[in-house]
């Protein structure tokens, strides 16, 4: 599988394409460097079974360890609640995307603008378009995706990977954060 081709073959943006997260520590470094990260989680995550564990459980661990507030975009909320995790906010994907383009928006806690947005679990093409919006209209924001497919419009993306490789990467990131 080609590493940095758009997962949906035709969804090619143009000259500006995401850097590859080849190793977990790249992602860790980015996350550490961010002053105000935020994670946006779409409904797709409940569909992923990652070696018996649900992706959502990784994400909860991840967010908790890294102290990253989580915005849940849709009905996934219930899954989080069931696991005793209360997301920082509930907000549709296009709404949070839109707010992130506003340099004056101080975030859900009213403190300051976010500088890193981590996306995961939106439908590929919808994540693609929202990341495109941010690429073009949120020049001060970095974006990252945790999906197992390449998202060219992010600042950083995983390559297209098998679920296996992806799990290794995800685990690596979570472990890295634990240090």
């Amino acid at each position: 599988m080609p590493l940095n081709e758009s997962w949906q073959t035709a969804e090619i943006p143009g000259p500006k394409k995401a850097s590859l997260i080849i190793k977990p520590d790249i992602a860790d470094a980015m996350i550490r460097r961010a002053k105000r990260p935020i994670m946006i989680v779409g409904h797709g995550i409940v569909e992923y079974d990652v070696e018996g564990l649900k992706l959502i459980d990784y994400l909860i661990e991840f967010a908790t360890k890294a102290h990253i507030p989580v915005v849940v975009t849709a009905s996934t909320n219930r899954e989080f609640l069931n696991r005793g995790f209360t997301p920082a906010a509930l907000m549709p994907a296009v709404d949070i995307g839109n707010r992130l383009t506003d340099p004056g928006w101080k975030g859900f806690d009213g403190k300051d603008a976010y500088d890193l947005a981590i996306f995961v679990g939106l439908p590929y093409y919808m994540e693609w378009t929202i990341l495109s919006g941010l690429k073009h209209f949120a020049p001060n924001l970095k974006t990252m995706t945790l999906d197992c497919v390449y998202q060219p419009n992010a600042s950083w993306s995983f390559p297209n990977s098998t679920i296996k490789d992806w799990v290794v990467n995800l685990k690596g990131i979570v472990d890295g954060l634990g240090d």
């Binding site: 073959t9 143009g14 975009t73 849709a74 009905s75 549709p92 709404d95 093409y125 378009t129 209209f137």
Partner: protein, 786 residues
């Protein structure tokens, strides 16, 4: 009128009149619309608005709902200076920014949409006038419809009474489309917001075009005339009697299909031939004859043709797969193209005899023909189908289960099919399973597949991937047997009078219209489920186009489709199928009629006031769950200008931008209080104008929220909030985090939720807000009429 008439350069000059005593009475030169004298409503401020006439209104809306651009490409390739790289705030060689470029594409899209409806209306009207004369009265409702053309009256300031009166309306549309299209030329508009305003204008024009098309065909072809209980028609592949010769019509312009029915009627052989349809022609042909059958939306084209059932395929215009000739040839069905717009390279046989053409088809010496004469199409199609059906024996390109297994084994698991699939369906996985004899995965995909065929094009092993799915799901296709209420056309004035109060007061929580195409993220089912849910909740649910079909393709636990379960009346809990794409005009028309008939706001050429009314008081929301086409974009734009929000599915983000409000910015939500003249905070209602939902659940919660309006009475708001909170609790979990923004006074709180909500309000620094008599138009202050 002055505008339009002076534009026509109409002059009547009588150079010499040899009479002293001659008296002329009632000399009327009718160039379409000069019958205004019989309409006593005074002319409003904006008849026949041009590109900038309603700019202030648009800018007012766009100040609240700022575009959130989602560029679908980093580049512009619209002229040979390009391609231009617009990343990183770069400008193109013409100086354009990415924001302006995206809105320019939206305008181009809306222009194509408006041109398509208007062009369709023009062809239809010309052919109806040829056949019935330009004096044929417009009649879209034998009872209860006095306002026959609310959009035309509103926009153009004229009241059309005959088919001929509709012609200058289309002249105006064509004129404005030309102007709008020219704006997309390199080096014209430079402001994204002005582009957006022009998008709204294109949308408004689109609605005029749609209205003209539908009222013309209703009047002339005897379609149901605002009938709440229009007949039910068969829906689904399983309803076709395959023992008969079968004709398939695809497209949007009913004229040639009507020719088929006419011929069958004339020959008295209606029961001997099955007339089946896909897309809007299907809907309209059932309005002409409820014996006709609807197969399904656009996504059914490949599967139905490949089934081999249709013996003759007749295509007209719009949403016809461009590979139809190829697919038809594979199953040896002759194809008749009937529109100048879609000639497919076929020889023009319009002037040949029916005998000759039929012979060519029967002998298979020609695969298809262009016939630009609806009557001839009717005869050729029927005669060919009857002669050819016994020969063809419905031989399709269907794949047997054995063949399926054999083919699936050739798959190399390269994943290219999945990567080509718009819905990212797990095809490779399913095919692997099929190779091992397990068809259930493939069978499951049937429900989610939009039938685009891209997987097949992409397959390196040339596997007919889509057909494999159909083969795995053959049991499903065979039993696809549902029904649909035939398109009723407009809403009666009398219905409006009945529901106007309940809607504006909020007893009916809202009007939800399911419109548009079948580019669904997860198949048709979700549309049916949403329809049912809102009808149950006593919203007024409207349907049209492909969505009207999808709505019918699902049965409840008692085996009922929504059309059987609910009434077809425009009332709480009704499921109102207005008809085809162009019938969407009646949904906008109903909102306009609430303002004009129920609230008695002046209608004629008075766009801003009516839109302001609808926006602030009529809780209508459009849902285009599978919006795909340029027409869908134009239709949405027409709703936006009227202040009606539109929710689309996740593919809708590809339309280049959303129009989103910011509920957190208090300053955005002030309105004028028409009573006091002051500016009053009225809350973020409706919160968005164009919103793409990620999931069905997302959409339903948002729809419930978007029905709220500043003018809601407390009782109405409580009703709307009850639905919003309940849906949110059920589908998302918990009380909606923004509920405090929608409660203006304790009376707004739904009784059954009093404790929860009150607690929540306390936690959120809530304070009481007045309920204004809301308007965005300063000129309406102190001019309240309701």
């Amino acid at each position: 009128m002055v505008n339009a008439l002076s534009r026509k350069g109409v002059n009547l000059s009588i150079k010499e009149l040899d009479s002293d005593i001659a008296r002329f009475r009632d000399i009327s030169i009718s160039i379409g619309a000069i019958r205004q004298d019989t309409w006593h409503e005074p002319m409003g401020p904006t008849p026949f608005p041009t590109l900038s006439t309603l700019r202030n209104w648009d800018h007012a809306l766009l100040k609240r709902y700022k575009p959130f651009y989602l560029p679908f490409c980093d580049l512009c390739c619209l002229c040979t200076y390009g391609k231009c790289d617009l990343t990183g705030q770069k400008r193109g060689a013409c100086g354009i920014t990415m924001a302006a470029q995206q809105s320019r594409i939206v305008l181009l899209t809306a222009c194509i949409g408006a041109a398509t409806h208007t062009g369709h209306a023009r062809e239809l009207l010309t052919s109806l006038i040829d056949r019935f004369g330009s004096d044929l009265p417009i009649n879209v409702g034998d009872v209860g419809v006095e306002v026959e053309a609310p959009i035309t009256r509103l926009v153009c300031g004229i009241r059309p009474q005959t088919l001929g009166d509709l012609e200058p309306v289309l002249d105006y549309c064509e004129n404005q489309i030309t102007q709008l299209l020219s704006v997309t030329h390199t080096g014209q508009e430079g402001s994204n917001i002005d582009f957006e305003s022009k998008v709204f204008h294109a949308g408004m024009i689109d609605h005029v075009g749609m209205e003209v098309a539908d009222i013309a065909q209703i009047s002339a072809l005897g379609f149901p005339k605002a009938e709440p209980e229009s007949p039910l028609a068969d829906l689904g592949l399983g309803t076709v009697d395959v023992k008969k010769p079968v004709i398939l019509v695809i497209g949007h312009n009913v004229t040639p299909s009507a020719g088929i029915i006419d011929y069958l009627r004339a020959e008295g052989i209606q029961s001997e031939v099955e007339v089946t349809g896909i897309c809007c022609t299907a809907l309209d042909i059932t309005r002409y004859s409820s014996r006709a059958k609807v197969i399904g939306p656009i996504s059914w084209q490949l599967r139905y043709i490949r089934s081999g059932v249709p013996d003759v395929i007749v295509i007209d215009e719009q949403c016809v797969r461009t590979d139809t000739l190829l697919e038809a040839a594979k199953v040896r069905s002759p194809l008749i193209a009937t529109s100048e717009k879609n000639c497919l390279g076929l020889p023009d046989r319009t002037d040949d005899t029916v005998d000759d053409i039929v012979r060519g088809f029967v002998e298979e010496s020609i695969p298809g023909a262009l016939i630009l004469d609806p009557e001839k199409v009717g005869e050729v199609a029927v005669r060919t189908a009857r002669l050819i059906a016994p020969k063809r024996k419905k031989q399709g390109a269907d794949i047997s289960k054995e063949e399926l297994g054999r083919l699936a084994k050739k798959c190399t698991q390269c994943m290219l099919c999945r990567r080509a699939c718009p819905n990212d369906l797990p095809l490779a996985q399913a095919i692997k399973a099929a190779a091992g004899g397990h068809l259930s995965l493939l069978d499951e995909l049937y429900d989610d597949c939009v039938g685009c065929g891209r997987c097949e094009s992409a397959c390196t092993q040339k596997l007919p991937v889509h057909s494999l799915i159909i083969a795995a799901a053959d049991q499903k296709t065979r039993t696809e047997s549902y029904c649909i209420r035939t398109g009723r056309g407009p809403i009666q004035d009398t219905e409006i009078r009945k529901v106007g109060g309940p809607i504006v007061l909020g007893e009916i929580p809202g009007i939800v219209a399911f419109v548009g195409c079948a580019n669904y993220p997860k198949g048709s089912r979700e549309v049916a489920e949403m329809c049912r849910e809102f009808a149950k909740r006593r919203y007024i649910v409207c349907t049209s186009g492909c969505s009207a079909m999808s709505a019918g393709m699902h049965r409840d636990e008692y085996g009922r489709t929504v059309y059987e379960q609910f009434s077809g009346a425009f009332e709480a809990g009704g499921i109102v199928n207005v008809g085809s794409c162009v019938s969407n005009a009646h949904i906008a028309g109903a909102a306009i009629k609430i303002a004009s008939i129920f609230a008695k706001r002046p209608l004629r050429g008075n766009y801003e006031e009516i839109a302001d009314y609808v926006y602030n008081r009529v809780g209508a929301v459009g849902v285009a769950w599978g919006a795909m086409s340029q027409k869908a974009a134009a239709i949405a734009a027409g709703f936006w200008r009227l202040g009606i929000p539109v929710v689309v599915g996740p593919h809708g983000t590809k339309y280049r931008r959303m129009l989103l409000g910011r509920s957190d910015k208090t300053e955005d939500w002030y309105v004028y209080d028409a009573r006091s003249g002051g500016k009053v905070y009225a809350g973020p209602v409706p919160e968005h104008l164009f919103f793409a939902a990620e999931t069905k659940e997302d959409a339903m919660v948002m729809v419930a929220k978007l029905t709220m309006r500043p003018n809601d009475t407390s009782k109405g708001r409580a009703n709307k909030l009850a639905n919003y909170i309940d849906l949110h609790k059920r589908l998302v979990g918990g009380i909606p985090p923004d509920v405090h923004l929608f409660v203006r006074s304790p009376a707004d709180i739904p009784l059954t939720m009093k404790d929860d909500v009150t607690l929540y309000l306390k936690d959120h620094d809530w304070k009481e807000q007045p309920i204004p008599d809301p308007t965005l138009l300063p000129r309406l202050i102190h001019k309240k009429r309701v």
